[in-house]
Every structure is written in structure tokens, then in C-alpha cells.
């Protein structure tokens, strides 16, 4: 109560045309239309980005840190997801891409998946612990964590309380530099993010005081900078082969990237937020038997489908898979262990691997006390039973059901339903002036301005 939740997604009222597309696709029904603009319900939003994908006018923006903030640090480290290399045309090499990150101002560059071989071992340890509830649900995708917090509170104990590759690579990068004699305060670690969810996970971490990441930059923004640097010719003298990744590491963020690490553990990989919701319902209904590990990602094709990825997700997957196979051969031929340097920090990373308690914060409950919730529920059933079940969204809510819920939560008025308005008008309980007023309060004055509409209709009639 009174808590505010941090979000990376914001709606720009000056651009929003109040079309309600976002409202209709939101998996947590977090959006309503009011005064002609989309409005986000702060406690419902999980930053999955479903709304961003469908907005026809670009009114939804993803927050990021200002690029100049890297200048606050003497030693600047960039952490780049491996799939960043899958965003560029085929004729640009991984070396050139990573080199371009140095060229735009960073002193050190790591691919995030550098810690994956370490992490997959930690997963196996985690699976072994009898205290942990099965099936274990991966906490790699922050949108999935938040989805479970708000909509599936009974599954909260299935969430794996272990950090993500990003955290481990960041911890390693920082610690190894400190060990080289650098001052901790002089090191800035920056994450190049494919999505809004990761941004929120860093700025407002769950089960953790503060993230080790000092700033977040959006991938599409960095892509433009890098591409420009590559076009004007990168300096090609760096040998970063010691930072090469294994096949499993490169594929980690793609669908199946986690489950592939555990051939002996019965696992499923589920991508796409609606698929995740569907499966979590089944899991909650106790209809899933014997599955031990669940990889769940909000985006189609995993992070390759992240909203800030400039490339097409299917092409990204193809490129990464090719790169993974190529790297695996190279590693086999040279006999070198990938990410060897990080492995000398295993003890340090294990000490810091855990995540604190993850709390449920249900958006489903109608009230805290059963008795009060029950009287609201009775009313809600009655209202919903009377509504036409068209789910047209004219009331400013995504479905008749959610509208009925809004009413019992005192967030909406029954007269907002267009069918209710027509019936009340017929029965002379309200006049047309009143019904236009109600419509204006939802869709804004402009869409119901009688002069401009008449102008529009003149030619047609």
C-alpha cells in the first residue's frame, strides 16, 4: 500500500493517440485508457514490453542512462549480451563488433555469458538441494519473476534464488580489476540491455540491496554508435581470444539456452509471455508432473526477441547458433578452456551467488481479508454476469471481466460500458449529453468533438 514500483517503460502523453492496442495485449491487464491516453497501473506492470511491441506511434519509451554517465568513471567496463553480435550484417565479425565498443569509449568489454559455464554448474548444485521446491523456475528473465510475484503468488517458492550471468560477469570484472590495483570507485560497469525488464532488475533489484551494475544503456542506442564506428573502420589490434565463449554460453539467452545445459534434468523451455502465463496456470493447477526445471522467457525466441534488439529475432538466432558451433570447434581444436580466468574467482562468486527472499505481491486479491474480498467477489460476479462479454474495450478496460473487477475496486463506473449507456438512455435514466460526457472521460474530448467529427463525415454521407 502506497508503495511505488519502478518501471523502465513510460507512456508519453504527447504522442499517445489513445488507440488501446497496448491495453488489449498487456498480460497483466496493467493498462487502462483514460482522458484519451493509455495509463499504466504501477503495481501491475512487469516491464515485459508487450505494449511497446504493438504501439503504432512509438508513444512508449524505454528509459536508459545518459551515455555521458560513463565519463564519471576512470575505468569503463561494458557488458554486452552475446546476441549483440547477432544484430549486425554477416560480413561484420565478432572481433570488429566488440572492438567497436572499445572505440566508442570503453576500456574493457565482456560478453555477459562469460560466466555461464560457472553458472550452469551452480544450477546443478542448486537442483541437488532438497530444500528447494520443484520445479525450479529460472530467474534469468526479470519479467517472469515479476509476473510470478504479481499473478502467481503460490509459485513464488519455485523461483530459483540465484543471480544471473550478468551479475556474475559484472562481479568478476570489477573484482579482477580491483585485484590488479584499481580503485573500486574508479570502475564503472555498464550493461547494454536488450529489454526494459533488465533495466528494472538493475535499478530496482529483487532480493538484493543494490546491483553491481553502475549504468544501463539500451541496445538499439549502442548498436547505432557501434555500427557507425565500424563503418569508419575499427582499430583491429586487440587479441581478446581469452574472452571466447563456449557453445552453451553463446546460446544461453536464446530459447533452450538454459535447458540445453542439463541433459539429465527433465526440463522445458518456454518462450513468449502468453505461453509462460498459460504454463504457469497449469503448474498452479497441479497438472504438471515430474518436470524439474523450467526455463521461462517473456520474449519470443528468448532475448533475441527483446524489444531493444534492432535485428530480426530469427536471423539473430541463426547467427548465434552458427557462431556457437564455430567457437565450439575452435575451442576443441585449441584445447583451451573458455572463461578460464573467471574460474579462478569461483569461490568469490559462489559466496555472492544467492538472492534474498522474493516476495509475492498479488494484484489478483480483491482485499486483504477473506470476508471483505468475498463480498467484493459476489458483487463482481453479479456485475460481470450482466455485462455483454464482448470485451470491446470501450469502457477503457481490456475485458468485461477486468471492468467488473475495476468497479468493485472503485476504479470504474458501470456507466462506462457502452451497452449499459444505451440501455440507460432507452430507459431515460441518462441523456445523450451525459453519455457523451462519460465517453469523453475515457477517450478524450478530441475523439468525441461533434464539430470535427461532422467535418469528417460530411464527404462520406
Amino acid at each position: 500500500m502506497g508503495t511505488t514500483y519502478y518501471h523502465a517503460l513510460t507512456f508519453r502523453d504527447d504522442i499517445c493517440i489513445g488507440c488501446s492496442h497496448c491495453m488489449m495485449v498487456c498480460p497483466t491487464e496493467a493498462i487502462r485508457v483514460k482522458d484519451g491516453k493509455a495509463q499504466m497501473m504501477d503495481d501491475h506492470c512487469i516491464d515485459c514490453g508487450a505494449c511497446y511491441k504493438v504501439c503504432p506511434v512509438g508513444a512508449i519509451v524505454v528509459e536508459q542512462d545518459d551515455f555521458s554517465c560513463i565519463e564519471k568513471f576512470e575505468h569503463k567496463v561494458a557488458l554486452v549480451p552475446a546476441l549483440f553480435t547477432g544484430q549486425f550484417p554477416n560480413n561484420i565479425t565478432r572481433d570488429e563488433i566488440l572492438q567497436s565498443i572499445y572505440d566508442i569509449g570503453f576500456d574493457d568489454v565482456y560478453e555477459i555469458e562469460y560466466s555461464v559455464d560457472f553458472l550452469s554448474e551452480q544450477y546443478l548444485e542448486y537442483f541437488k538441494d532438497e530444500d528447494h521446491e520443484k520445479p525450479f523456475i529460472s530467474t534469468f528473465c526479470p519479467a517472469v519473476i515479476r509476473l510470478i510475484q504479481v499473478k502467481f503468488p503460490t509459485l513464488i517458492h519455485n523461483l530459483m534464488r540465484i543471480k544471473a550471468p550478468l551479475d556474475f560477469t559484472a562481479m568478476y570484472a570489477k573484482k579482477s580489476l580491483i585485484d590488479k590495483g584499481l580503485d573500486a570507485d574508479s570502475i564503472g560497469v555498464f550493461y547494454i540491455s536488450p529489454c526494459a525488464a533488465k533495466f528494472v532488475a538493475i535499478k530496482s533489484p529483487i532480493g538484493e540491496e543494490k546491483s553491481v551494475i553502475d549504468g544501463v544503456l539500451n541496445m538499439n542506442f549502442v548498436f547505432n554508435k557501434s555500427f557507425k564506428a565500424i563503418k569508419s573502420g575499427v582499430s583491429k589490434d586487440r587479441d581478446d581470444f581469452h574472452k571466447a565463449l563456449s557453445k552453451n554460453a553463446i546460446n544461453w539467452s536464446l530459447t533452450g539456452g538454459e535447458t540445453n545445459n542439463f541433459p539429465n534434468v527433465r526440463s522445458l523451455a518456454i518462450d513468449g509471455i502468453n505461453n509462460v502465463v498459460e504454463f504457469l496456470e497449469l503448474l498452479e493447477d497441479d497438472e504438471i508432473e515430474g518436470v524439474e526445471f523450467l526455463e521461462m522467457r517473456a520474449c519470443d525466441e528468448g532475448c533475441a526477441g527483446g524489444i531493444l534488439c534492432p535485428g530480426n529475432r530469427f536471423l539473430t538466432v541463426e547467427k548465434l547458433k552458427n557462431r556457437a558451433d564455430f567457437c565450439q570447434k575452435k575451442i576443441e581444436n585449441t584445447g583451451k578452456t573458455p572463461a578460464k580466468k573467471l574460474r579462478s574467482y569461483d569461490d568469490y562468486l559462489i559466496q555472492n551467488a544467492g538472492v534474498g527472499k522474493i516476495n509475492a505481491r498479488s494484484i489478483v486479491k480483491l482485499a486483504d481479508e477473506v470476508a471483505e474480498a468475498m463480498s467484493k467477489m459476489k458483487r463482481m460476479f453479479e456485475i460481470n454476469g450482466a455485462l455483454p462479454q464482448v470485451d470491446c474495450g470501450i469502457c477503457g478496460a481490456p475485458s468485461c471481466q477486468s471492468f467488473a473487477e475495476d468497479i468493485v475496486r472503485n476504479k470504474a463506473d458501470i456507466v462506462q460500458c457502452i451497452f449499459v449507456q444505451k440501455i440507460l438512455e432507452q430507459n431515460e435514466k441518462i441523456d445523450s449529453k451525459k453519455s457523451v460526457e462519460v465517453m469523453k472521460s475515457i477517450w478524450g474530448d478530441k475523439k468525441l468533438d461533434k464539430n470535427s467529427l461532422r467535418e469528417e463525415l460530411k464527404d462520406i454521407i
Binding site: 503468488p153 503460490t154 513464488i156 496456470e281 498452479e284 493447477d285 497441479d286 497438472e287 508432473e289 509475492a360 498479488s362 489478483v364 486479491k365 480483491l366 482485499a367 486483504d368 481479508e369 477473506v370 470476508a371 474480498a373 468475498m374 467477489m377 459476489k378
Partner: protein
């Protein structure tokens, strides 16, 4: 108090679980403790499957009070000849077809008992079986 009524068709495995799913949704909205919801869902789901798999069909009456949920599952036969035996872990008369669908381990009834606070199973051959259970919201 709130009452919900459902019907269960014999042999309709595709819909088994839909009742427990609806009840789950209601309990979540009522802010009932997660572990109680889990126990109730397990017990109700197993009961649903039993009526689908072993009976001629039946009905479920769910009553939700401020402090507990009471569920009665009644079917129209054939009845359970030996309840004590049926309650034994691993005992099952499930047909090969039912086993094919992944049921028939003989774990359902013991599981229902484990996941409920009050449990009462009565059956009369040729008439039907009545299973009643209660789960309390606070320990």
C-alpha cells in the same frame, strides 16, 4: 458464504482440472494463503480425476466461508467396494486406457487425505460415492 456448483462427465479427461482451476482462481482473489490454495487444488484435482476415471459422473459443490473451504464430491456409482483398500497407497483398479493417460498409480485418495484438514469418504455399491473434505485458511 459463497457456493459454486459444477458437473463432472464420466470419461472426460480433457476437462479434468477445470473445476480445481476455477476454484483456485477464486481463492487467489480471496487472498487465501498460497499453501492452502495449493493443498486444495491438489485434493480437488485428484477428486475430479477419480470421478472422471472411475465413476458414471457426478457433481461438485464448493462452499467458501470466511475461514475455510468445504468441498463435496458426489457421483452416481458404481461405488467403492472396499474403502480401506482403496485408500492404500498404490492400490488401483484403473483400466489400461486410464493408465495410458498417465493415471492409475493408486496415489489419488491418499494424496487427497494428505492435503485436506477434514476428510470423509463414504460409498455405497450401486448408489455412489460421496467424498467430503474441508481445508481451513489459518492453521
Amino acid at each position: 458464504m459463497m457456493e459454486f456448483n459444477f458437473k463432472i462427465e464420466s470419461g472426460d479427461f480433457t476437462n479434468a482440472g477445470s473445476i480445481s482451476s476455477s476454484v483456485k482462481r477464486a481463492l487467489k482473489q480471496l487472498n487465501v494463503d498460497g499453501s492452502v490454495i495449493k493443498r486444495t487444488v491438489v485434493a480437488l484435482y485428484e477428486s475430479e480425476v477419480n470421478v472422471v476415471a472411475h465413476s458414471h459422473g457426478g457433481e461438485v459443490v464448493v462452499n467458501i466461508f470466511d475461514d475455510c473451504i468445504k468441498i463435496n464430491i458426489t457421483d452416481s456409482g458404481p461405488g467403492i467396494p472396499d474403502i480401506e483398500k482403496a485408500m492404500t497407497q498404490g492400490f488401483s483398479t484403473a483400466s489400461p486406457e486410464v493408465r495410458e493417460m498417465g493415471f492409475g498409480a493408486g496415489m489419488g485418495l491418499p494424496n487427497i487425505k494428505n492435503n485436506t484438514d477434514d476428510f470423509d469418504l463414504k460409498s455405497e455399491m450401486g448408489v455412489g460415492t460421496v467424498l467430503k473434505f474441508v481445508n481451513y485458511f489459518k492453521a
